[in-house]
Amino acid sequence: MKCNVLVVDDSKLARMVVASAFTKIRPDWELTEATNAEQALDILGQGRVDIALVDFNMPGVDGLELLARIRERHPKMPIALISANLQHEIVARARELDAAFVAKPLTEDGLRGFLSGAALRLRKAAS
């Protein structure tokens, strides 16, 4: 099963890190990048996204707000908040949205764990 993954991060460096790990872990999947919430919602509106990874600390709409909006429209989509801000409250708010928390700096193991769980969820939902 091939998936389309959306990564939303205002930082080019952070997107480079995600893209590099992603290509190693799932070379056959597709990765789309967005730099802010508005762009992300546009891409999501086109209906080709299976999984979303969203940075917390972004100008304008922050990652938790964006995830809440995604959750409203896509109640079953596997989503994750990605951040170095590992305060208990931030992690708890991500969990409330049924989103995973992936710590920055992003490691291959961290991303692999989330993507494997997400793929499993999507397979279960499809069966």
Binding site: A84, N85, L86
Partner: protein
């Protein structure tokens, strides 16, 4: 032992150094992962000083032309956190982070943005660990990059009478294999110090229980 506002008792100073040490160790692990090299830390120094004295402390340990990523934090106590490097070492640090396969032109293009994200990861790691340890929540701003001497970084000229003396907490950070040497600094103004003292006492009480 009692102390007035702006003074720290021995145990308060000790507890703050320990809390900072735990936060910065987490930050150093993050930086180590980003550069793929070992990162060494000094013992944290905790002092109440004027902004000018803080600026001098940072400059005395290196060249005066500095580059810093700063983030403000607010909550039960507030202030600013800075990751500071000499400007001459900034490109080397960015190269270590983005990888040696990139050309110098790419590294120069990415410098400001890569530093902002690096600061974001490192300062968040430090501040979030401290917040969790103290069982409080902090709002942390977006990162911004500033260049200048210590006085510019610490806003010496903008400091009012009350804002002049700050709690200054700093740690040397060295990326050994790259010869990159910087600091993590936290600055808090006096009203924050009063709030922080109360929270630190709760922490000390918890540890002693």
């Amino acid at each position: 032992m009692k102390s007035g506002v702006g003074e720290l008792t021995g145990i308060e100073q000790d507890a703050l150094a320990e809390i900072a040490n735990i936060g910065v160790s987490r930050a150093a692990t993050s930086l180590g992962q980003m550069v793929g090299e070992q990162v060494l830390l000094s013992v944290p120094a905790v002092r109440i000083v004027t902004r000018r004295a803080a600026a001098r402390l940072v400059e005395n340990n290196g060249p005066p032309k500095l580059i810093a990523v700063q983030q403000s934090f607010a909550g039960p106590f507030s202030g600013r956190a800075l990751l500071i490097f000499p400007q001459t070492q900034s490109l080397e640090l960015v190269r270590a982070i983005v990888g040696d396969q990139h050309t110098i032109e790419d590294v120069i293009d990415l410098e400001e943005e890569a530093l902002a994200e690096t600061g974001n990861v490192i300062l968040n790691a430090c501040l979030a660990t401290i917040a969790n340890l103290l069982r409080r929540t902090m709002q942390i701003s977006l990162p911004s990059v500033i260049r200048g001497d210590g006085a510019t970084l610490f806003e010496v000229d903008n400091a009012g009478q009350d804002g002049d003396r700050v709690l200054f907490l700093y740690i040397d950070v060295t990326v050994k294999a790259r010869d990159v040497h910087g600091f993590i600094a936290l600055l808090m103004d006096l009203p924050s110090i009063t709030a922080l003292k109360g929270i630190v006492h709760d922490f000390i009480d918890d540890v002693g229980r």
